[in-house]
């Protein structure tokens, strides 16, 4: 039996297991699936994921109480420029990779049931495995450069996985927008990556933090440069985490298969926040970048929660909740509370995975994702209903579940630094999220049965089992946090803030109950003025803003240069060609064969040249 240390030392293998799975899975072309059936692909993928999970878990256990371990894997050394892939192995990073592989394992089982009738499993599982490899590598990696590389690869992965059902028009445009929006963020991040290196000489997060805190080094850099770099480093995660104004892609990406949506919203998107947390020391150097993170986070948190409360599409609610929670993470990072931010990422990932699994379980048998078509599912769907409730309780701040323990230290931090505005943002957001989720629960499970929900039993065990396990995990998360000593101490934290938080959750839930579970008002939407309602339902009209600004600009610019190219640049060339042809054609008529014409021409030009040459002499003669 290898020693505990062995597992930590070999942690660099963790991303390679799913990568092997991806390579194997991609071999399952439709032709091969016709022979073997689709299941073997899933089994291979499950196996590699299980291996990665076990290895992550063992390595995490081995790293317990140990100092951080660094491993350098040399990659490129050219012209004095060295790139090594640095891994940082600590309980936090290995814990993150354990969480990622665990969620992946559950979702892959879920996908077997959910996508039973689909034909492209080779592609699907290869991409899921690619994501798994990319994410585990990202959390273990200690370098901004390689984080950028991995995020960019995941951007491509997002494009392909959202475009999984590529023959549908909405899927194609969703995939396109996801790719391009994320690419915008990636490239701004790349600019930051390029600009940072000459200043720091390193891309390693740990060394960047040291650089940022060393007196004298930072002061030597012009503040404008620092600001630009800081803004660039914030912008990358803005698109990854679907923050305003680059949030639309996540909504459109919902066109992809639902199991991948679970993965995307629960773990892929938070990897952007992970990078943001790692970059916090550098971002903190620039007040502008900090202000930007907080401003974007605030708008995303409040706006996202309000929009989520106004959606009638089940998946859309979930999409905007991701924006909301990542917004809170942005605010936390902006305020310098990285520990609270990471804790929130953890509780969010677990709770949202559960909520999405439960939502998918509803959608699978209801065969609709329109919330207005649903209702009365509680009696037939107790497991799903209970899981959904557990998810709500774990996401918003309801003690003793996860979300409460993540938001409480955040509020304490704001309290200590007297950041009342930020405190209010979090409390209000929490209340609105609570309302929105209870509304969704009410629309799905309470009320009268509808035509769609009348014959909608719990789906196949392959879907329900992972959901139930996830629910168990969510409910036990506080115990895990306690075991890992990341649970805030109740005694010292039993502040008025705990009550504020609890009251905000309950108030939101109460209002939700009032309108949607035990409805007292026939049409609650009528209570909100029409324009406000439409503004929220149509996502602040973001698609239209995109159409009218960025898309229109690029499209018209490209049309313009194309026109210039065809008619001006090439036109000029063709004009030269034509004119030389024309002059040649014209001149040939001068060839009459008459000697006297030639002589006259020659004499004329000789005279002309003579005049030109002797011009100076002539003018001096005359003057």
């Amino acid at each position: 039996m290898p020693t505990a240390d062995f597992w930590a030392q070999t942690s660099w293998l963790i991303p390679l297991y799913p990568l092997v799975g991806a390579v194997l899975a991609v071999c399952w072309s439709p032709a091969l699936i016709r022979k073997t059936g689709p299941r073997p692909v899933a089994y291979i993928s499950l196996l590699t994921t299980l291996v990665a999970l076990v290895h992550s878990g063992l390595a995490m256990a081995a790293s317990w109480g140990q100092p951080e371990l660094f491993i350098q894997l040399p990659w490129l050394d050219v012209a004095g420029f060295q790139l090594t892939f640095p891994l940082v192995l600590s309980t936090v990073t290995l814990g993150a990779s354990t969480l990622i592989t665990l969620v992946n394992l559950l979702v892959q089982i879920y996908a077997i049931g959910y996508l039973e009738t689909d034909w492209g499993w080779g592609r699907l599982y290869a991409l899921i495995a690619l994501f798994e490899a990319g994410m585990t590598a990202l959390v273990l990696c200690d370098s901004l450069f390689f984080s950028y590389v991995l995020l960019e690869i995941l951007t491509l992965g997002t494009y392909l996985i959202v475009g999984y059902w590529f023959n549908q028009a909405l899927v194609v445009s969703g995939a396109r927008d996801a790719f391009l929006t994320k690419r915008v963020g990636d490239l701004i991040l790349l600019m930051g990556v390029l600009a940072l290196f000459p200043l720091t000489g390193t891309w390693n997060f740990s060394e960047l933090a040291v650089w940022a805190s060393t007196p004298g080094l930072v002061e030597a850099v012009p503040p404008l440069t620092l600001t630009l770099i800081g803004v660039a480093l914030v912008s990358g995660p803005v698109s990854k985490c679907a923050q305003f104004p680059l949030h639309l892609w996540l909504d459109e990406a919902m066109e992809g298969p639902h199991p991948t949506t679970i993965l995307r919203n629960a773990v892929v998107v938070p990897t952007g926040a992970w990078v943001l947390v790692k970059l916090q020391p550098v971002i903190a150097l620039s007040p502008w970048a900090v202000g930007m993170a907080i401003a974007i986070g605030t708008i995303s948190a409040l706006g996202g929660s309000l929009i989520a409360a106004a959606q009638i599409d089940a998946k859309r609610v979930m999409s905007y909740l991701t924006t909301t929670y990542m917004g809170i993470v942005f605010v936390a990072v902006g305020a310098g509370q990285t520990d609270a931010a990471l804790l929130l990422v953890l509780t969010y990932a677990v709770a949202s995975a559960l909520l999405l699994m439960a939502t998918g379980s509803v959608m699978l048998t209801v065969v609709s994702q329109d919330l207005t078509q649903m209702g009365g599912l509680w009696s037939r769907r107790p497991v799903t209903g209970f899981s959904f409730l557990a998810g709500i309780a774990a996401l918003v701040a309801i003690p003793p579940l996860g979300g409460f323990w993540a938001l409480l230290p955040l509020l304490n931090g704001f309290w200590q630094h007297q950041q009342w505005g930020l405190l209010a943002v979090v409390v209000v957001t929490n209340a609105v999220v609570s309302f929105g989720l209870v509304r969704m629960f009410g629309l799905m499970f309470a009320g009268e049965r509808t035509a769609m929900t009348a014959r909608a039993p719990e789906p196949i065990w392959l879907v329900m089992l992972p959901t139930a396990i996830m629910a168990g995990l969510t409910l036990h998360l506080p115990f895990v946090m306690d075991a890992m000593r990341i649970l805030p101490d109740w005694g010292s934290e039993a502040s008025p803030l705990a009550w504020v938080l609890l009251v905000s959750s309950l108030a939101g839930a109460e209002v939700g109950c009032f309108f949607y579970i035990f409805p007292r008002v026939a049409e609650p939407t009528k209570l909100v003025p029409g324009p406000v309602n439409r503004l929220l339902a149509y996502d602040f009209y973001t698609p239209k803003i995109y159409q009218k600004t960025a898309i229109a600009a690029v499209a018209s610019l490209s049309q313009l240069t194309d026109w210039l190219d065809r008619y001006v640049v090439d036109g000029l060339v063709n004009l030269v060609g034509l004119s030389s042809l024309f002059s040649g054609e014209t001149l040939k008529y001068g060839n009459s064969g008459k000697t006297q014409t030639y002589a006259l021409t020659i004499a004329f030009f000789v005279a002309l040249i003579g005049l030109y040459v002797s011009w100076g002499a002539l003018t001096s003669l005359l003057s």
Binding site: V78, F166, L190, A195
Partner: protein
């Protein structure tokens, strides 16, 4: 040793032209000879000394000493990369030619002649020899476009011929100036390097070279021959044109522009960086508006060559390695794209983006072609893990210290690259296949072979970029070491242009004209 690369293809042209009975026979002979040249290239790689930045495996035969023209070959890291590209892409171009091509006894010999000539140009260490070989490939390429091309082939071929001829004239003028102004008649590269020309003459001669090679690369605004020619040329010829011939331009700029006129290069480098950036943006933006895949790829080439130019303008050791590697990666990706477009056109019958649809369909579409198209498009757009990323990244990181703004603007160019490749993939691979028309022939594995080879290179070199950049590392360092500091040159320029030196510079061409 190096001569083999020139003479083997030329030798191969003879039996095809004289004895080949069927197109298949011609193709096999051509494949055998170009395959042998490829193997020979591999052998040269094995003999190449990585530690040396100078010229290796020199060959010298006195030819016309009176003119200063000698048969003088040698290889360094830069040439090595180029002959690798030439040998590989020639083989691929021949392989991907249709097996029942018309006038096969002319087609294959012409391709082999082009390949031999280009190899010679990359190896030549004599200015006149380079020029001779540079011009030599012009005629066979003209014929290759004009005979086997698409609908507008006559127009395109003539345009190509005229442009390249003008480029040739400008290059020749610059070469003559570089040698004769140095009071010398020896055109050997090493000898010309010794000539110390005044800065003003250097600038004028470099300007001639820049336009000459700028046409060949091509850089905006000398690029309009390129879309027409790429569109008109058949896929194998387009592979040669874009993958290899365009590199003659960038190679020429690095070898001769930078090598012969180091002071002028350093002086003009800020303008070159701006020019490069304009090319990047112009090419990428124009590509977005294109409807024909080949045209789109042609404009994308204009953009990608801009990165090479940017790296060369910054001339840090890192950006030079990046620029040279970018030439290789662009050649590989472009060849892959053109091969795949050729397959699509062959099976579907069109390469118009508004007519293609749903090729990813696993049963009736072209799934493997689509997958490879996604791969090549993403490699071109600079997605990490593929070779396009790391070469662009080295250029960017190397150039950022010198030209931060130009570099950042060029990064936007890679974003625009992603835009048009997403358009390309969305229109061709994604979407619903039209079941009424979709009775496409199967693409056999042998047809896929070149794509597999190129895709493997794109992926492997992307994951292990060390295997690509190591060859040119020392050469880049020595190229860069020969260049002066920009500030120094700017001071010298101010001194030289301030007073009567101007009139001196104007007299220089007159002196030549009078034969002094």
């Amino acid at each position: 040793m190096l001569s083999t690369l020139i003479w083997l293809p030329l030798l191969g042209a003879i039996p095809i032209a004289l004895f080949a009975q069927t197109a298949k026979q011609s193709r096999n002979i051509a494949l055998a000879f170009s395959g042998a040249a490829m193997l020979w290239t591999v052998w040269i790689f094995s003999q190449f000394d990585l530690a040396s930045g100078g010229l290796q495996m020199q060959e010298f035969v006195s030819w016309l000493p009176v003119l200063g023209l000698n048969y003088d070959l040698a290889v360094d890291g830069l040439s090595l990369m180029m002959i690798f590209l030439n040998s590989l892409l020639t083989w691929i171009a021949i392989y991907s030619s249709s097996s029942d091509i018309e006038r096969h006894r002319l087609f294959y010999p012409l391709i082999l002649v082009v390949s031999g000539g280009v190899a010679g140009a990359f190896l030549a260490q004599n200015l006149l020899l380079f020029f001779l070989l540079f011009e030599l490939e012009l005629v066979p390429l003209y014929l290759l476009v004009a005979i086997w091309g698409g609908p507008k082939r006559a127009y395109a071929a003539t345009k190509f011929l005229l442009y390249t001829a003008i480029a040739g004239a400008l290059i020749l003028a610059s070469f003559l100036g570089a040698v004769w102004l140095g009071d010398s008649f020896d055109f050997s590269y090493q000898q010309v390097l010794q000539n110390q020309l005044p800065l003003v003459s250097q600038v004028i001669l470099l300007a001639l070279l820049l336009v000459g090679f700028g046409i060949k690369i091509p850089l905006v605004p000398f690029h309009t021959w390129l879309p027409d020619t790429y569109v008109a040329a058949s896929p194998p010829v387009a592979i040669l044109l874009g993958g290899v011939l365009a590199k003659l331009g960038t190679y020429g700029l690095l070898r001769f522009g930078m090598g012969l006129f180091p002071d002028a290069w350093a002086l003009l480098s800020p303008y070159l960086a701006v020019w490069a950036t304009v090319s990047v943006l112009y090419g990428s933006v124009t590509a977005i508006a294109q409807k024909d895949i080949k045209r789109m790829v042609a404009y994308s080439s204009v953009g990608h060559m801009g990165y090479v130019m940017l790296g060369a303008a910054a001339f840090t050791p890192l950006s030079m390695v990046g620029a040279i590697s970018q030439m290789v990666s662009h050649g590989l990706i472009l060849a892959l794209l053109f091969h795949l477009v050729g397959l699509v056109e062959d099976k579907v019958g069109t390469r118009q983006l508004d007519q293609l649809n749903g090729l990813m369909n696993p049963t009736r579409g072209l799934p493997l072609v689509s997958a490879l198209l996604v791969l090549s498009g993403m490699a071109s757009a600079g997605i990490p893990g593929l070779v396009g990323f790391i070469t662009e990244f080295l250029v960017f990181q190397g150039s950022y210290i010198v030209f931060p703004v130009a570099t950042i603007v060029s990064v936007i160019g890679t974003g625009l690259t992603a835009v048009y490749f997403v358009i390309l993939i969305n229109r061709t691979c994604f979407g619903r296949l039209d079941s009424q028309k979709a009775y496409y022939g199967k693409v056999s594995l042998t047809e896929h072979l070149p794509a597999f080879v190129l895709a493997a290179l794109v992926v492997v070199l992307g994951l292990r970029p060390g295997w690509l950049v190591q060859w040119s590392e020392v050469t880049s360092a020595s190229l860069v070491a020969a260049l002066p500091e920009v500030e120094q040159v700017q001071l010298a320029w101010q001194e030289e242009t301030s007073k009567e030196n101007i009139s001196f510079a104007r007299q220089v061409p007159l002196d030549i004209a009078l034969g002094e």
